[in-house]
Amino acid sequence: MSAFARFATVLLAALFATTLVAAMFNLGAPTVDLPGAVAAQLTHSGVAHPVAAVLLNFRGYDTLLEVAVLLLALLGILGVSHDDGVTTPTPPGEPVLQALARMAVPFMILTAGYLLWVGAHRPGGAFQAGVVLAAAVVLLNLARVLPAWTRPGLLLRLGWVSGFLIFLAVAAALISQGHLLQYPPAWAGALILLIEVGLTISIGLIMSGLFLLLTERQTSP
């Protein structure tokens, strides 16, 4: 990229930035009051926490597609990270780190469980829980306790998609209520919990996959 082009780009960027900033001042109050609407419907949403209610009920459809996005990233990575036999020998992990990891992981799983359960009425939920699970898996891998994933077997694939498929099944089943993802208020809590559990596991595994499929192919310790 030529020096002039760089300069022009930066100049334009600065110009745009100033307009953007200028545009943000003295805006009137939003015309539509959605927080009010959310609060009003919260009791029928099946969860006590507004954000969770939006994520899994009011805009649960977004979340469904978002899980699809995660799976897509995974698919893309699988497509390019197929085992080409190139393996780079790495030193075995230090015993201390391994011991530490082995100790930490159970607590992390516990934390994940807590985050999942608390998500209904406080900040938390499937994603947070799933990420903690993933962190645990990554830790094990870094400590060389767990080898990188080369070619995923049926079980792993099942783990990856189960959360998504459960969500999908629920969404489809609920069409009997008249609309996609229309929870009957009585059942909303239970169904959402079911979805959350599935998602936690799948998201945990997918997130781990994003890492364990990318790490160097290792000669297992």
Binding site: M1, V10, F16, V51, L55, E66, V69, L214
Partner: protein, 101 residues
């Protein structure tokens, strides 16, 4: 000036910074980082601007959570491609394709 608005303004700047980075920087890893900057900027504007008058609004928060997950996924894919490219060609920047094949 409410904290929400400050977040929004910061977000705007981050966005522009990121966008510029993606365009100007040559190294792909930096491009990917710049993209994350850009994304975070957009998220900040989303939550900040919506809550500029102090009140909390769960909708943008939920949307940003969605957005973050999308960004994570995209970043992972981008990194995977970059690693693949490096493994195949030893390059960490994009070849300037000729205009015709």
């Amino acid at each position: 000036m409410s904290p929400g608005l400050i977040y929004a303004l910061a977000g705007a700047l981050l966005f522009v910074l990121g966008a510029t980075g993606v365009i100007v920087l040559a190294n792909l890893l930096r491009k990917i980082l710049a993209f994350n900057l850009l994304g975070s900027g957009a998220f900040l504007v989303l939550v900040g601007l919506a809550q500029r008058d102090g009140g909390t609004d769960p909708l943008p928060q939920a949307m940003v959570l969605t957005g973050i997950v999308v960004a994570v996924a995209a970043t992972a894919l981008a990194l995977a491609l970059l690693r693949r490219l490096h493994r195949l060609t030893g390059q960490t920047r994009l070849p300037d394709e000729k205009e015709h094949g």
